[in-house]
Symmetry: C2
């Protein structure tokens, strides 16, 4: 069996784990991200985590064939440089070089959404496919494109910013400063806004009762009310599925992936929601009567996606 | 010097020419496309054109290193198959096989917009670059994506349909049956519609006078009136530039090409129009303050783009 280490650097914590060639996590550990202490501190903590997970797995450093790093922001994977990552306060940081000062092992770094996309394609819901689109519907909308089992990151790793394609000119304001971005319609944050708006307009909707019980309006309110038969919630959920599909179709028309994988909190709503997206995709895709329409499925790596995804690119 | 043949098959005519390794056309000829007579007739006509242009150039068949075919529709270049081309009445036609019955030479086929994109990148306005986006603003909106000097056509050649990404959900009807496609806002056809609408609303606009003089409303009316200082025309032209830029930015955010090349009739409006698009792109691109913004330029191969583009892929 071949072993690798995946390191998932987030703004709050660093997670690391030994991953075998079949995508199983053998051991894992975590520590807080010392953002204020800078790249040297973070590289050292990464190395210490590597030693720890190797020991837990009863392995030695020489057994590890490579280390893969996943992190947010813009990453130039060919140069090993994190061009910009606001959460980490990183600007043009050669994280591979920093890490290799501690341990001279084959090391690669990639954007975390791209890592998750490759992990899902190699070991998760996309494992029967070689080209895929992975989308996370969370606070924002993250996208990862896999072509021929490889991450597509755009020139200098500056592309693949799928959340910020415009699906409605002059539309909703987006956190990026533009108007009408897909993220402003298809993120969980957007769904909550859409839910609140419908609740205000329809005080009789079950969504109000559910939100009061929960003590907040979150991404599950509309789905719960829909399942209980609430007509207003049905409208919210169906429109939201249409928003999600509209963005997906942009990328299907351009990339024609074999499969589309939906991740993030919202994807847990249930198979009926995935089916709604599927139907809308079928309706909206270009030349859908002639060309193959990719299937839409729920991503299934869940919490492991970060570590497995980070390790995936170094396995090639 | 190395020689190739480029064959540009259109719904009306087939154009062929000898192209040298520097992208110069040495000789050319043309014939009508016998759509009703089917693939055998078209393949034979292609072969006869090849013999003709070879003779005109004082070359022999053995001097030709390869034949490149460009045609409209969905093309699976790896298999040499035109999957679907409405203009040619072709469905799953292996045009390479048909052609090779007459002449067993290295032959490739690609979608014509993709060919034009590669031709422009190798020999035209993009020749200093290796990754590019080529857009033609004509009756429709065609797109071609070049990554690392290669055509990106999506899985099975079914992708790269940039004209049909949605930029305004629930917006203008598109010829493809969907609503809000980029093509429905950024094609010359769309510009004419926008011009007509503004003319009706503003009978005092100079555009009315210009259109009367021309005997029709075409894609140049708004530009002419704008240059003459007409305020209504200025609004039309500026909004149209914004429509063009909105679609471009979708692809810039995903691909981050080094250069964007604008072709088609509308691109002849003048440098001031290209500059308008450039400004809007700058304004709309994601993380434009951190990432490099590709330059926007006018395509410059003009009438030669079809033949040179068709030959370009066979030169590799």
């Amino acid at each position: 069996m071949k072993y690798y280490i995946g390191i998932d650097i987030g703004g709050m914590s660093i997670k690391a784990g030994i991953v075998d060639e079949d995508g199983n996590i053998i051991s894992k550990s975590t520590c807080v991200t010392r953002v204020l202490d800078g790249k040297e501190a973070i590289a050292l903590d990464m190395y210490n985590l590597c030693k720890e997970v190797t020991a837990i797995a009863n392995l030695e450093q020489k057994d590890i064939l490579g280390v893969g790093i996943g992190c947010p922001g813009t990453v130039n994977s060919q140069k090993g440089v994190i061009t910009f990552a606001a959460n980490l306060n990183f600007k043009k940081v050669n994280i591979v070089k920093e890490f290799n000062k501690h341990w001279n092992v084959k090391t690669v770094v990639n954007n975390d959404a791209n890592c998750a996309a490759l992990g899902e394609t190699k070991f998760g819901s996309g494992k029967e496919y070689s080209s895929s689109l992975f989308v996370t519907l969370g606070t924002g909308v993250g996208t990862g494109f896999i072509i021929d089992n490889k991450i597509f990151e755009g020139e200098n790793g500056e592309g693949a910013e799928g959340g910020h394609v415009c699906i409605r000119m002059d539309g909703e304001k987006c956190s990026c400063g533009q108007k009408g971005c897909w993220e402003a319609y298809a993120s969980a944050t957007a769904l909550i806004k859409q839910t609140k708006k419908a609740m205000q307009k329809h005080p009789e909707s079950l969504m109000n009762e559910i939100a009061t019980r929960k003590g907040e309006v979150n991404g599950t309110v509309a789905f719960e009310a829909y399942k209980a038969g609430d007509k207003v919630a049905e409208k919210v959920v169906k429109k939201y599925a249409e928003y999600v599909a509209t963005g997906l179709v942009v990328f299907i028309n351009v990339f024609r992936p074999q499969v589309v994988m939906i991740g993030g909190g919202v994807s847990n709503a249930g198979e009926y929601f995935i089916e709604m997206i599927r139907k809308q995709v079928k309706k909206k895709v270009f030349a859908g009567k002639i060309n193959r329409i990719p299937n839409v499925v729920k991503a299934n790596l869940g919490n492991d996606a970060g570590i497995v995804g980070a390790a995936a690119p170094v396995m090639d």
